[in-house]
């Protein structure tokens, strides 16, 4: 198991190395000259040239890349072009907010989605099953930003239940923070929740069809015991896989949700940096997001071991 973890860790490092390559090369294609962006359209060519030198943009690409990676490994992601602050610091400011709402959303999606899937599987073909399947079908089809807009319209403007926008740290003002966070979290969680419900349902059905469920039944176990002790433990494995995918989707959707609810997190940072042509920040953000996703996947792979003794004990 330890060897497995270490091997997976190495793999993750290789993947991240590839991520740096991809991110770096895409951003080379980004239009415009960052130096000009920084200085505005009226700057003289000499000024532009000077800034280019300062930013290291005049060095050969491979050198730029290696320098960037070298620094990135040490936790230095460069300086923002637009606001001239350390990217690491900027991300450090934005990331916790995104993490907070993402984690809440993931928890919400799992806590509601998985039981919904279980119920749908148990009541297969029944009314509840149909209801859950309709909701989850729509859940996966409704664009997150659209949902966010609807939420603002109904729950803030029409009903006045929640504040329209903003983010407050839960440590600062828990009550306000919670009020502000409810809608974004629901919007982020909705699609994931739908996926969890569907995946759990089909995983459960799959497991229910397996021989060992029949064995459990032949022993005279109660249905509840069978579901909880026998079926669920097996069905949870494909659901864990889904966590990996949904991490990507939830983090991806923060782009929209943070925009609409005005949460100063990574999603909004990426979009704004793109509009600001602040490629150093974009680069850093994408890398950090990729690191988070890659490590979540690593954790997920490791947690398979805990869910599935066939992997844990070889």
């Amino acid at each position: 198991m330890i060897a497995f973890i270490i091997r997976r860790l190495l793999q993750t490092v290789i993947v991240l190395f590839m991520v740096t390559l991809i991110v770096f090369s895409i951003l080379q294609v980004l239009p415009g000259d960052p130096a000009r962006t920084l200085l505005g359209p009226e700057a003289s060519p000499e000024q532009v040239e000077q800034i280019r030198d300062e930013l290291g943009l005049n060095r050969p690409l491979p050198v730029q890349y290696i320098t960037w990676v070298e620094h990135a490994v040490q936790g230095d992601l460069g300086k923002s072009i637009a606001i001239k602050e350390d990217v690491t610091g900027i991300i450090g400011e934005h990331l916790p907010k995104t993490l907070y709402i993402s984690i809440l959303s993931m928890v919400l999606a799992i806590v509601i989605g998985v039981p919904a899937g279980i119920i749908a599987a148990i009541r297969r073909g029944g009314k509840i099953d149909s209801l859950i399947s309709v909701v989850s079908n729509f859940g996966m089809a409704v664009p997150a930003f659209w949902l966010a807009v609807l939420c603002v319209y109904f729950f803030s403007l029409k009903l006045g239940w929640f504040p329209v926008q903003g983010y407050t740290s839960p440590f600062k003002d828990f009550w306000l923070s919670t009020q502000q966070v409810i809608m974004p979290v629901i919007c982020l969680a909705f699609a994931a929740l739908a996926s969890f419900a569907r995946q759990t349902r089909s995983a459960m059905l799959e497991v229910i069809m397996q021989d060992f469920t029949r064995t459990a039944r032949s022993k005279g176990l109660k249905e509840g015991t069978i579901i909880i002790k026998h079926t669920l433990k097996n069905a949870i494995i494909p659901v864990i896989t889904l966590v990996g995918l949904q991490v990507r989707n939830i983090v991806g959707s923060t782009i929209f949700v943070e925009q609409v609810f005005n949460i100063p997190g990574m999603g909004r940072l990426v979009v704004q940096s793109i509009f600001n042509q602040d490629f150093v920040v974009v680069q850093g953000c994408v890398l950090v997001i990729a690191i988070i996703v890659a490590f979540t996947n690593l954790l997920i792979d490791i947690s398979y071991g805990f869910a599935d003794p066939r992997i844990r004990i070889k």
């Binding site: 991110v23 089809a141 664009p143 991806g252 974009v282």
Partner: protein
Amino acid sequence: MTTEIIASEKVVEQKVKKTSNKKRFLRVFLARKTVVASLAIIFIMIICAIFAPLIAPFDPYKQDYTQILADPSLAHPLGTDLIGRDVLSRIIYGSQAALLVGMVSVAIASVIGIILGLFSGYAGGLIDAVIMRAMDALMAIPPIILAVVFVAAFGGGLKNVIITLGLSLVPTYARLMRGQVLAIRESDYIVAQELMGSTNIRNMIKHVLPNCLSPLIVLITLNFGVAILAEAGLSFLGLGIVPPKAAWGSMINDGYKYLLSNPILSFAPGMAVVLVVVAFNIVGDALRDALDPRLKGSL
């Protein structure tokens, strides 16, 4: 002896014929009403896209300044937008963009993904490792963020949005394909092929590829919806299809500003997106059920 066996097997023959593959497929596939409805939605969308000029009551680009932000009426069943264009006509024309985005980006993704996956799965070793780690790397970046960065890098507009979405969907196909190839490679019929001295290329194209199709078809169907959704998302951020072109995503974005006074401006294209995506999802699911040999008949 030979003739006798043939004779006796004839009895069997009629019975086997009854459970014809296609019929069973269609029966399972069309078992639910929602699937039929979804197919109808997709069909209508395709018809709209092809015959838009015949169906749409107005020119979707024609501005009528006497009819700006008009409420729904007989002439304009869904009202008009901020420069007096007929919303219904624009939605009808918007199906062209949606169809194009869905079809072409999924085609790009699947072709590249399939080739990579086939190659990776069949070649194994270092090639496999490199391709798969690259796919992992792409997968580590959330697709929408990848798309946003791509579009930022290469510019917006229909063509780039399509290419972008196509590229960001590639890893899914490559992975699925590789998994399939690995499974099928091990199967006896490929072993048989190898024992006959068949070449790898022949095996890949003639045997592995056709047998990977079922899950691919399902994925392709589901991805139509994903692509349309992503296009809407990009347009929402102002990175998608540029305004004069009628596209649902950018229509939502345009109409979103009038949510309070003319909600229909964003509701209508939004509903179009949701309906089409739901339809593709349901059809995808039904295909999965119908193509799944284990679910034979049980539905």
